[in-house]
């Protein structure tokens, strides 16, 4: 260990000196790596922004544990299960309440354009709001009125005028399944992949709007745990007690499931993953070009070092030293520029673009791996540095 330390402190930093000697090439390499890192950061940034905009419903749910059909895939494809499962859940000690949530996507006539558009209708218990947003909890009396709904002012689509009218107190009406509904209030949630627009109403209104829906088949069960009981234990008892046609998830699991679903099962995740992979490959190619040109340019010197008694491992060390230095020198400008671009993109798209420490460290590791791979390929050229054959 001490020997290694002295070896390192006595060592001439050859890789660094070589890089420093040709500043133009060093700058080229740095900008190449920074460019690759920016590509990767932007892909991850957009993917994460889209994924988190997609879990706003989940995050605002007033529940500790949710119950859903075992086959449920995501919020848009929840399927249904018998309401009886919720009464069974109430048998478990430690469960404080169990509420029904009905979810269904339908076509409605856009109140502004009168065009048929898809909308997601959510029916909940008006006495115990499923969502924590104050704008919703203050309007619970409105949705008790027949055919009255709350509308998301952050919905995607042409709703500006309808929203403006509602805000002025005018009555805005739309049509769902040939029933006229009026907008009784607004809340702010945001569009997701599952729905461009969400309307929230009472369970009774929901069932009136969806005459084919049996009251006994529900989309989501919202369970609250009594303060003081152990959530892990309650959950375990629930799982043991409930039949296999339903599954239970904590809110965190529900959120992560939704993200994972869109990131892995749908083109969106693949598209952004592909973008990040392209960035990575671009980085590998650029760094490989730089490093192998550098090795070629120094073959005679390297062969001389071998003739002086340096081992092959010493030269490998020089190449990897260069790779790591390039990774660090390229990463930080890339990080800085990406933070700036995040701010610009957030302004332009209203998506939440945030640079997290985890992502920065992740991309730094990725950059080191990227440069390491390039270095490893470039070291193959070192074989030409044979002192017996080069002179």
């Amino acid at each position: 260990m001490k020997k290694l330390f002295t070896a390192l402190t006595h060592r001439t930093p050859l890789g660094w000196l070589q890089l420093k000697h040709d500043l133009t090439r060093l700058l080229t390499a740095m900008s190449g790596i920074a460019f690759a890192d920016i590509l990767i950061f932007m892909q991850f940034g957009f993917l994460n922004a889209l994924l988190s905009s997609n879990t706003l419903l989940h995050e605002n749910l007033q529940a500790d544990i949710v119950i859903m059909n075992t086959q449920a895939l995501n919020w848009g494809e929840l399927s249904t299960f018998p309401r009886r499962r919720l009464y069974q859940a109430l048998d478990i000690p430690g469960i404080e309440s169990a509420d029904v949530l009905y979810v269904n996507s339908v076509q409605w006539k856009n109140p502004q354009t009168q065009q048929k558009t898809s909308v997601m209708v959510i029916g909940m218990n008006p006495d115990r709001s499923a969502f924590a947003l104050p704008e919703i909890t203050q309007k619970l009396n409105e949705i008790k009125l027949p055919d009255t709904v709350l509308f998301d002012r952050a919905a995607r689509g042409e709703y500006e005028e309808a929203i403006a009218k509602t805000e002025l107190g005018e009555t805005v009406t739309a049509e769902i399944e040939r029933r006229t509904v009026s907008i009784g209030g607004l809340f702010s949630m945001g569009a997701s992949f599952a729905a461009d627009a969400v309307i929230i109403t009472s369970d009774q209104n929901f069932l009136r709007l969806m005459p084919k829906r049996q009251p006994g088949t529900v989309s989501l069960g919202l369970l609250k745990i009594e303060p003081g009981s152990d959530p892990v234990q309650v959950r375990a008892m629930l799982d043991a007690h409930l039949p296999d046609d339903v599954k239970t998830l904590t809110i965190e699991e529900f959120i992560n499931n939704e993200k994972t679903y869109w990131a892995t099962n749908r083109p969106i995740g693949v598209v952004f993953g592909f973008g990040a992979a392209i960035g990575f490959v671009v980085g590998v190619v650029i760094v490989y070009q730089i490093l192998s040109t550098d090795v070629n340019a120094h073959i005679a010197e390297y062969a001389t070092f071998k003739a002086m008694g340096y081992r092959n491992s010493y030269l490998l060390g020089v190449v990897f030293e260069e790779a790591i230095i390039l990774a660090a020198l390229g990463f930080f400008p890339g990080l800085g520029i990406s933070i700036g671009l995040y701010a610009l993109a957030q302004k332009a798209t209203a998506l939440p673009m945030l640079m997290t420490t985890t992502r920065a460290i992740g991309v730094l590791i990725l950059t080191i791996v990227m440069c390491g791979i390039s270095g490893a390929i470039a070291t193959r050229r070192l074989q030409a540095a044979d002192p017996a054959d080069i002179f």
Binding site: T12, L17, T304, F305, K306, M308, G309
Partner: protein
């Protein structure tokens, strides 16, 4: 001279290049003994096998058959690691200076010490500085090879080869790329340093003007050593 043990002892050394049909013998039954402190010059036409013999003796190339002893250890059939160790006892001076472009004169010379891993940075710096002063480059130690003349670069290369006090110095046409004046200077310098350090020199050259530094001249022709004449006895 006969009562000393040779630092280099070559016996019946053959060497072949290539494989199968293309296999070609370039060294034939070489016998050569070089004693401590001797300066031996090897001459011979181009392509006669001088460089091949030098790379074998210095451990840059693995010996195939016969016997090749350097400082008592056998290099014929030696492992890579043994060859690496052998190289560390040698100072090799190439026809081209082969200095590292990204390192200053001082850093280049220090590389000759760093390989041994025994000295601290300041000790290395001090030794490298003093040998550069000895070769007359005291004012140039921070200069990069691009800013030095051919003769100065070759002197840095000599300093690099000699800074760790090698037992044997091998030089392959070290003056070929230099004009006659700087060539002469370089050889005189090698002779002086070698005398001071008591090291043995095997020098390949075509240059008739520098033969007077030799204790002994050997001639290579078509892969065979033909003459082994003593010019003047070791003092």
């Amino acid at each position: 001279m006969m009562n000393k043990t040779p630092v280099i002892a070559v016996e019946n050394l053959d060497h072949y290049f290539g494989q199968g049909q293309l296999r070609k013998q370039v060294l034939f039954g070489i016998n050569l003994e070089i004693y401590a402190g001797e300066i031996v010059i090897m001459m011979g036409p181009s392509g006669s096998g001088k460089t091949t013999l030098l790379t074998l003796v210095s451990g840059l190339r693995s010996a195939q058959s016969g016997s090749l002893k350097m400082l008592g250890s056998e290099l014929c059939g030696a492992s890579q690691e043994q060859l690496v160790q052998a190289r560390r006892h040698n100072g090799y001076i190439f026809q081209a200076h082969n200095l590292h472009q990204s390192l200053s004169a001082l850093q280049n010379v220090q590389m000759g010490l760093e390989v041994h891993g025994t000295l601290t940075r300041s000790q290395m710096r001090q030794k490298a500085t003093s040998i550069l002063e000895e070769v007359g480059l005291g004012e140039y130690i921070e200069k990069y090879p691009d800013n030095l003349s051919g003769g100065q670069k070759q002197r840095v290369a000599i300093a690099r080869a000699l800074v760790a006090h090698p037992a044997i110095v091998l030089a392959d046409e070290p003056t070929a790329a230099l004009d006659s004046k700087s060539g002469r200077d370089v050889v005189t310098l090698m002779q002086k340093l070698a005398r001071e350090q008591g090291c043995t020199i095997l020098l390949v050259t075509h240059d008739n003007r520098i033969l007077d530094v030799a204790d002994r001249i050997v001639k290579m022709e078509d892969g065979r050593l033909t003459a082994n004449s003593t010019v003047n006895a070791v003092a």
